[in-house]
Amino acid sequence: MTDKPTMIEFRDVHKYYGDYHALRGISATIRAGEFFSLLGPSGCGKTTLLRTIAGFEGISSGAVLIDSKDMADVPANKRPTNMVFQSYAIFPHMSVAENVGFGLRRDPRSKADKAKAVEEALEMVGLKGYGTRAAHALSGGQRQRVALARALILKPKVLLLDEPLSALDKKMREHMQVELIKLQRQVGITFVLVTHDQEEALVMSDRIAVMFEGEIAQLADPETLYRRPATRKVADFIGTMNFIPCTVLSESDSGCEVEAKGLGRVHLDPGQCPPLRGGADPVVGLRPETLTLVYPGQTTTERTTPGVIDEVIYFGDMTYYDVYIGGTDIEVRLSMRNVPGRPILEVGAKVDVAWSPTALVLFR
């Protein structure tokens, strides 16, 4: 993965809208052939950043390079990128085939060859035989496929996707996530996806840049992002995380010693102590699935802390428990898979909570 060449490079990109500082020094590289996501809440600048790649948005300072070429003077229609718009932007006055073939006007191939290319592109997105349909008569999912075919037929170096799944219902969205991954592997083109849905980003991406307020807070692969978030904000944005107040006792090259409320004294490896400091009171973070209930009669080799169940939330395949730990007012959420023979415990039950020091991340 790391030896893949660079496809897109941002060099200290800034963007101002009047006084508003939309992009605050973005520096990052996107590798050739990877599925890259820009993830963040609305207004974080992720769409603006995507539009600087497409050329719809100029930048105030810095540089955007695509395939090692500075894009400063290259207009949108001359860039080796194509975009799938959030609204899909299907031309309503054209048929499906005319939409897909829109970008082929200057293509030197014969009319018949172009028609064949259009038919192939439609087949690739699962719309074989839809060519003569009127564009305005399509469903949301079909429009998106047309938008994909229309962009991919031009064989761009980079495909840009601006929240392409947000207009679809949940079932369709999950289906299209898998289809997009397959399609990306099939065509081998660099995909850059903008999304505010952390689950979507985790499912689809090779790497994810998490953005807040015009800056990249963390750029990593999904697993690192989930297991070792760099800041409390990232941890909070991605999945569920329990935050437990703690004090840092000592810190050295071999990690740090912390005293966490309700858990006791813990040694953390250097990887669990990200160097970033937000200036807030230190906390340790724990994902719900790294905590387990120790049922009566069971034993565990993990460290345990006594707890009292405060809330039980039943999800069918899972049950979430909110538990006060270590005789404190600190409450953690943990999730247990509902396997046969495992009872659902009741509110007020006294339990032991097992946890592993390696699952902790320190934020300060």
Partner: protein, 293 residues
């Protein structure tokens, strides 16, 4: 719920009829009745201030074979086509500018300003052009006083060009508004998509913006063309009586010579020609009018 469905519907129908009847009576009296009168008059015998119940096609024969009528009808068509072309060509950039380059918060102000010429009477606006273009008008006296010309320019007044200028100005807002509405409805991401797919801004305009705004252009063409062909104030004032259009002929036959039958035949003939041209134009452009917007 329990009452019979039939009587319920009857009552609904009755109250519906009662509600539309004022409009219906108004429409019958002011639109259908005059039109029917003109149609009937056109096939009767006229002259000397009266119309007699004597069926004849003579009026139509006169209108369709007379050289004068044909020449005047052709002039009317030339002026109407010219006005339509000039108006739409001027209106489109204005509508485009307001739709694409004016801040959203200021668009209504711009539209308001565009309608300002309508605050004065049509007659006064036409007369102002006479003042501007006339033999001793603003342009001629202005150019003469600064010594660019020695005697008044003849080619700017009392001709078809002057008619077109005046009428194009008068109808400009009617063309700007429908084109503006059509442009406003275009999803801006479509234009970005056009460029994203490799087309320049100009090409994107040609392939995306223009076809999508055609319903507005078609509306503008019809709104300008149909009333222009029947205009009689402008030819009278600007043309100085030397450039009559078809409506002036109707006026002469109806009010001056008092041959209402012939006047009616001219009116019906002009109506048929305008209707045929309008239908042909819409059919020519029907591909732009398909599908939901």
């Amino acid at each position: 719920m329990a009452q019979s469905k039939g009587s319920g519907l009857d009552r609904e129908a009755r109250s519906g009829l009662a509600m539309v009847s004022p409009t219906l009576i108004y429409g019958m009296l002011l639109l259908a009745a005059p039109l029917a009168t003109v149609l009937i008059y056109s096939v009767l015998t006229g002259g000397g201030g009266t119309v007699t119940w004597d069926f004849t096609w003579d009026n139509y024969v006169t209108v369709w074979t007379g050289d004068v009528y044909r020449a005047i009808m052709l002039r009317s068509l030339t002026v109407a086509f010219g006005v339509t072309l000039v108006t739409v060509l001027i209106a489109y950039p204005i509508a485009y500018f307001v739709s694409f380059h004016v801040e959203p918060s200021k668009k209504s102000l711009w539209l308001f300003l565009i309608t300002i010429p309508f605050w004065t009477s049509y007659l006064i606006r036409v007369f102002l052009w006479k003042v501007i273009l006339g033999y001793n008008g603003v342009i001629n006296s202005g150019l003469m006083s600064v010594g660019i010309i020695d005697e008044p320019l003849q080619w700017i007044n009392y001709n078809v060009g002057a008619l077109i200028t005046t009428l194009a100005h008068a109808y400009a807002p009617f063309a700007i508004l429908p084109i503006f509405v059509a442009l406003e409805k275009i999803d801006r991401s479509l234009l970005e998509a056009g460029q994203d797919l490799g087309e320049s801004k100009l090409r994107t305009f040609w392939r995306v913006t223009l076809p999508l705004s055609m319903p507005g252009v078609i509306a503008a063409v019809l709104i300008v063309f149909i009333p222009t062909i029947g205009d009689y104030v402008t030819p009278d004032l600007i043309g100085g009586g030397r450039l009559p259009m078809i409506a002036n002929m109707m006026e002469v036959q109806m009010l001056k010579i008092n041959n209402r039958a012939l006047g009616s035949a001219i009116a019906v003939s002009a109506m048929i020609i305008v209707a045929l041209i309008a239908v042909a134009f819409v059919l020519m452009n029907r591909r732009f009018l398909r599908g939901p917007k």
